[in-house]
């Protein structure tokens, strides 16, 4: 695989980081959603990421990365808003348990990791171009 392997490894990371960003954005957008398609409050999603063998080079296994599962955090916060159409009989409304600051931090982390992985691909590209130059 050599230098092309770098592209597949870093490429898998680009996909994972994009998905993490999507999930964080979805959580942010729905931090006040009291009603989803199932009629219940939105639940926070979390991507579970794991290392996965991408290929084996002469030195050993090189790991890529993948999203294992997307976990749903099954907790809500209750606010007393009896005027709200989604309020229960006791006047409490279930809101998703989402902390926007944490989601922002997740979003930024995914963003930075995406950038660095893109830089790794650039670097592999430059090295490939350099090795082509040898033959000129």
């Amino acid at each position: 695989m050599g230098l092309l392997g770098i592209m597949s490894v870093s490429g898998s990371a680009l996909a994972v980081e994009r998905q993490r960003a999507e999930i964080a954005a979805g959580n942010l957008a729905n931090s006040e959603s009291t009603r989803g398609p199932d009629g219940k409050a939105y639940r926070k999603n979390v991507a579970v990421v794991s290392a996965v063998p991408a290929y084996r080079n002469a030195s050993g296994l090189v790991s890529g990365v993948q999203v294992d599962t997307i976990n749903t955090v099954n907790s809500t916060v209750r606010r007393y808003e009896p005027w709200h159409p989604d309020a229960g009989a006791d006047g409490y409304v279930e809101y998703p348990d989402i902390n926007p600051a944490m989601e922002m931090a997740d979003l930024m982390s995914a963003d930075r990791s995406f950038q660095l992985n893109a830089a790794a691909i650039q670097s592999a590209k430059a090295m490939l171009a350099d090795s082509l130059e040898i033959a000129k």
């Binding site: 695989m1 898998s12 990371a13 990365v65 830089a119």
Partner: protein, 130 residues
């Protein structure tokens, strides 16, 4: 090991009194070690957010020596000691990896350039100046 000595130093050691074909061979091994190290760095960066993932790296100088002495052509990756570990068991330091990536790329570039010059000289020797 992050940077260590500049790329040039190891290349200078390669040139010491070697005939051109040997030097070309050495440069090829140098490129192989650099490319192999870059693969592990890319994997570290890809797994910067993977719980429990440990930084893997190859020691550039040792691997090069092993490759040149003909022991083995494949650098041995090992877990890097002395990095601070996050609560989730991951110890990838993005600064370290970014630096290592730039370092390895520079080494590769220099060696590729030198290889190119060697081939050009060889071709001049064959064809004469035209």
């Amino acid at each position: 090991m992050i940077g260590g000595a500049p790329a040039i130093e190891e290349l200078e050691n390669l040139t010491n009194g070697t005939a051109m074909p040997d030097f070309i061979d050495s440069l090829a091994r140098f490129l192989e070690v650099a490319s192999s190290r870059q693969q592990f760095i890319a994997s570290n960066i890809a797994n910067a957010n993977t719980p429990g993932f440990k930084t893997q790296d190859v020691d550039f100088r040792k691997s090069l020596q092993a490759a040149l002495s003909g022991e083995t052509n494949a650098p041995n990756p090992s877990e890097v000691a002395g990095l601070s570990e996050r609560p989730d068991g991951n110890n990838v330091s993005l600064e370290r990896e970014a630096l290592a990536m730039a370092d390895t790329e520079a080494r590769f570039k220099v060696a590729a350039q030198m290889l190119r010059i060697q081939f050009r000289q060889l071709s001049t020797a064959i064809q004469g100046e035209r």
